[in-house]
Each structure stands twice: as C-alpha cells, then as structure tokens.
C-alpha cells in the first residue's frame, strides 16, 4: 500500500496505526508561532470501533490500509458464521464471525443490504442501513385510543433487537427503526 503524509489525511482515508486499520475522522493542523507544526488526528480503529486521538509531526506518514467497504446482502446463519453476498451480481459470499458482526447482529434481516468492511480480504465490520423495517414479534397488547399520549413500552423485533415503541403498537406490525440510535421512527 502507498504511504500517506499528514497533509493527505482526509476524512475517510484508511491507514494502519499500531497494527490496526483505522479511518481518519478529523485532522487538525497546529503550529506554534515559529516552530515545528503538528497534526492532531482523530481516527476510528476499524477493528474495535474506538476513536483514537494522536499527534503527528507534520509531514510524517502512515501506511495506507487495504480496506474496502462493499455493499452486501445478508443471507443466513448456520449459528457459527453469518453469510453475506456481494450484491454486484457476482454472487460471491463472505462468511462473517460474531466478533466482526458486533452490535449489528441484532439488526440482521435477510435480503437487506449492509455495508461490509473488508481488510486484507477479511470482514472486520458490518454496518446496518440507517433505517430498517422490522416486524414486532413480542410486546404487550396495544392500548386503543392512546395514539396521542406519550408513554412507551419495550417491543422485541424479528431481528432480536428490543426497541421502545408507543403504547398503541401491536405484535405483527412492521416498524421503521433507526439503527444508529435504536429508536422507533414510525409504522412502516
């Protein structure tokens, strides 16, 4: 991979740091009045999801990371691995470990397209779409006439996620949910 110098660090660039692939989030140039300039860089470690803040001497460089983000459709799980398929018409399948799946496990639905991050051809992360439509499989019975009041109750969705929903929602309904916050948006 090519090396990237601090002045090429842009949001989204993938680089290697301490052996892990990272995505640059922010890059701030700091320089005392007369003297050495530094770059304060925020990076997301793509293996752990943690955000790192590091300082570099301006002009230093990091090795690029062979990271690809691809759209893939979720197929099925055999309990050990979860299988995704490239949706570019190639039908190429990628097995994913639970560790790489992380929190996304509770947002899985067949035929939905996820963003799958590959590093050196291994899946290291799966990101769900921002909004997903899921069926309610379990919740207390709906309260009629309570469509305007606040109040919420837990509902278990077909993917396993538990979402706070309004009191009027019933089992079997399909809801639109924001996967970033885990919040109910509307009836689908």
């Amino acid at each position: 991979m090519a090396n990237y110098s601090t002045n090429e660090f842009k949001g989204g660039l993938k680089v290697m740091l301490d052996g892990d692939p990272c995505a640059i989030l922010e890059n701030d140039y700091v320089k005392p009045g007369k003297g050495q300039a530094f770059n304060r860089v925020k990076l997301r470690n793509l293996m752990t999801g943690r955000v790192w803040e590091r300082t570099f001497k301006s002009g230093e460089s990091l090795e690029g990371a062979d990271v690809l983000e691809l759209d893939m459709e979720y197929l099925y799980t055999d309990g050990d691995m979860w299988y995704f398929m490239l949706n570019d018409g190639s039908f190429e399948q990628y097995p994913v470990e639970r560790k790489a799946l992380g929190e996304t496990e509770k947002w899985l639905k067949e035929q939905v397209v996820y963003t799958v991050t590959l590093w050196n051809d291994n899946v290291i992360n799966v990101t769900p779409p921002n909004f997903i439509e899921l069926e309610v499989t379990e919740t207390d019975p709906g309260l009629k006439g309570d469509t305007a009041q606040g109040g919420s109750k837990p509902a278990t969705m077909s993917s396993g996620a538990v979402v706070r929903v309004p009191l009027f929602i019933n089992e079997g309904e399909v809801l639109k949910v924001d996967t970033r916050t885990g919040e109910y948006v509307s009836r689908a």
Binding site: Y29, V30, K34, G35, Q36, A37, F38, R54, T55, S58
Partner: protein, 324 residues
C-alpha cells in the same frame, strides 16, 4: 457532484471585513504610519526551518527565473526601512505551503508593521491598541506572560533547564507520538501547542515574551534578568487560544543575520530539507544600515475571525483555497 461556486464567507461578513480593514488603515494613518506595497514574488525565499515557500518560474528582464512567493513581507519591508522609509505598514498577501486547517489557509493576509526607534514594550502597547480597535467587544486586560513562567505553571518545569530526556518523555506522553529522538525546541513546540496555547488568551489578551534564544528567528537576543540566560527579544499575542501576532525587536546586524541564515540552512540539511538561498539583498541592506526598532506581523484573518465571531478563518475569506 454539484460545483459550489459561492464564497466561503457570506456577503455580510465580507462587508464587515472591508469595514474593519478600513478601520485598521485609519488606525495607522492617525499614528503617522504609512502604507506600502511590496512584491509577492521575490528572488529570496524563507530559510526558516518550519516554513515551506512556494515558488514559480517566470520570465523577467533577466530571462527565465525561479521566484518565491513571500511567506511574509518582512524582507522587502526591512529594505524600505534601510532606505529611510520611517514607520510603515502593509496588508500583505502571504503564502505558506502545507499550512492547512481551521486556523490556516495556504494564502492569507498578513498585517505587518515596523516602528523604527520604538522598543518592544512600545510595540506591545500599540499592538494591543490595534486589536482593541478591531474587536467589537472588550477582550479583557493585557497580561504579559514569560515563556518560562508558562511552562512552570502548566507543566511544572523550566523549559531552559529541564533535562532533554525528561522533556522527550513528557512530550511523548502528552502528544501520543514518539519524541524519543526529538530536539529540545521540537519538544517545547509540541508542549506549548498542545498544552499551553489552548489556555492562552482566555478572558484577556496574553502576550508571551522571553522565548528561548534558539527560537529568536529574526529578533535580537537579550539576557534574562532572572539568571542571565539568553532569551529572544520577541513576543507573541494570544486571544481565545489563537496566536494572533509575532513581534520582534528587529535584528539589524548583517553579520548576525547572515550567520542565522547559515544556521537555518544547516538545520535544513540535517532534516533532509532543501536549502533556501539566503536573501542577499536583505543582507546588503542591513550592511547599509537599518534603523533599530521593532516590528510585528499579525494574522489579519484570525483577528477578523475573532472580531466577527467565526470558528474558522475560511469564514472570513472570500474564497478559501479549496474553493479558490
């Protein structure tokens, strides 16, 4: 992709900018400091280790030549001083390669002025007055802070005497990067940038004085009354964590200047950077005699950013470089 043709500052802000720059001109006119214009393209670049000059090739009466975009109007203005100009100021477009960020832009407006016969204290007072004239609200009182004092307060160490190993360890720890082989000045630069600068200029204007002699650049040096240590006769002005200005008791000794250019280039060789030819015309002008006095360079865009309550210099520029 749509092409964004609009300015990075809104029209209202650009009108305010014009009004404030007129205020700056009035300030100097009242004080008998006259405005000059000097070249953006010159035969000499900056030897400063930490500045990257841009250059271009152009046809001049001497044929095809390499010319340097000036990193500040300093050398040309000093030649005017040597020619007997008296007090002068300039709003000069200046260029520094690689300086990209919220408080930097590849090209920017430097407000630079020179005061023959005025000492550093006098110039600090004048710089403070100029800043207050441009700001719409009272920034609080002026506080004079010694470089050593700042390190003692914030980091409990004396920047001049702390063992280099301890400085390297601290810089490594605070910066999260490997500073094990860094020189003393790089360690101090890192610590002041990350730890001290963000706290400066809060609730008042901070003027930092008595920098290490190794960071004198084009300023004279004097003995620190505390223990006779050599320090640089220069100051920097901070407001809201932003470095606004850099002032010098100007070096007028041609031999000393020549030696510093040589030191710069020696340091450039060590760092594997290209050498920059010293500006011979400046050296000859100093030999001819430049009156003693002080001068200061102020980042006009940053001052306007603060005056107009913006977060980034781009917001007070018609078109910052990405949109230029």
């Amino acid at each position: 992709m749509t092409i964004d043709w609009r300015p990075t500052a809104d029209i209202e802000t650009l009108r305010d900018r014009a009004r404030l720059i007129a205020e700056v001109r009035a300030f100097f006119a009242e004080r008998g400091v006259w405005e000059v214009e000097t070249p953006v393209l010159g035969h000499g670049g900056s030897t400063d280790l930490h500045l990257v000059s841009l250059s271009c090739e152009a046809t001049t009466p001497a044929g095809r030549e390499r010319l340097w975009l000036q990193t500040s109007p300093e050398f040309h203005m000093k030649r005017l001083l040597a020619a007997g100009s008296g007090p002068i100021f300039q709003v000069a477009r200046s260029f520094r390669d690689g300086e990209v960020g919220g408080r930097h832009n590849l090209e920017f407006s430097m407000l630079e002025w020179y005061r023959p016969g005025l000492d550093l204290d006098g110039l600090i007072t004048e710089t403070d007055a100029l800043i207050r004239r441009v700001l719409s609200s009272d920034p609080g009182s002026l506080r004079r802070r010694r470089y050593r004092e700042l390190f003692r307060e914030s980091l409990e160490l004396d920047p001049f005497h702390e063992p280099l190993e301890a400085l390297r360890r601290l810089a490594t720890e605070r910066g999260g990067l490997d500073m094990a082989a860094a020189c003393r000045d790089d360690c101090l630069d890192l610590l002041i940038s990350l730890v001290i600068e963000p706290r400066l200029g809060r609730g008042g204007i901070d003027v930092v004085v008595d920098y290490p002699a190794s960071q004198a650049a084009l300023a004279r040096r004097h003995r620190d009354p505390e223990d006779g240590e050599w320090v640089a006769s220069r100051f920097e002005v901070y407001l809201d964590g932003l470095e606004l200005a850099n002032g010098y008791d100007e070096l007028t000794d041609a031999e000393e200047q020549r030696a510093r250019f040589k030191e710069d280039n020696a340091a450039r060789r060590v760092e594997g950077l290209p050498e920059v030819e010293a500006d011979e015309r400046l050296l000859v002008a100093l030999e001819a005699g430049m009156p003693a006095g002080s001068g200061v360079a102020l980042g006009l865009d940053r001052l306007l950013q603060l005056a107009l309550d913006k977060d980034r210099v781009a917001e007070v520029m018609a078109f910052s470089t990405p949109r230029a």
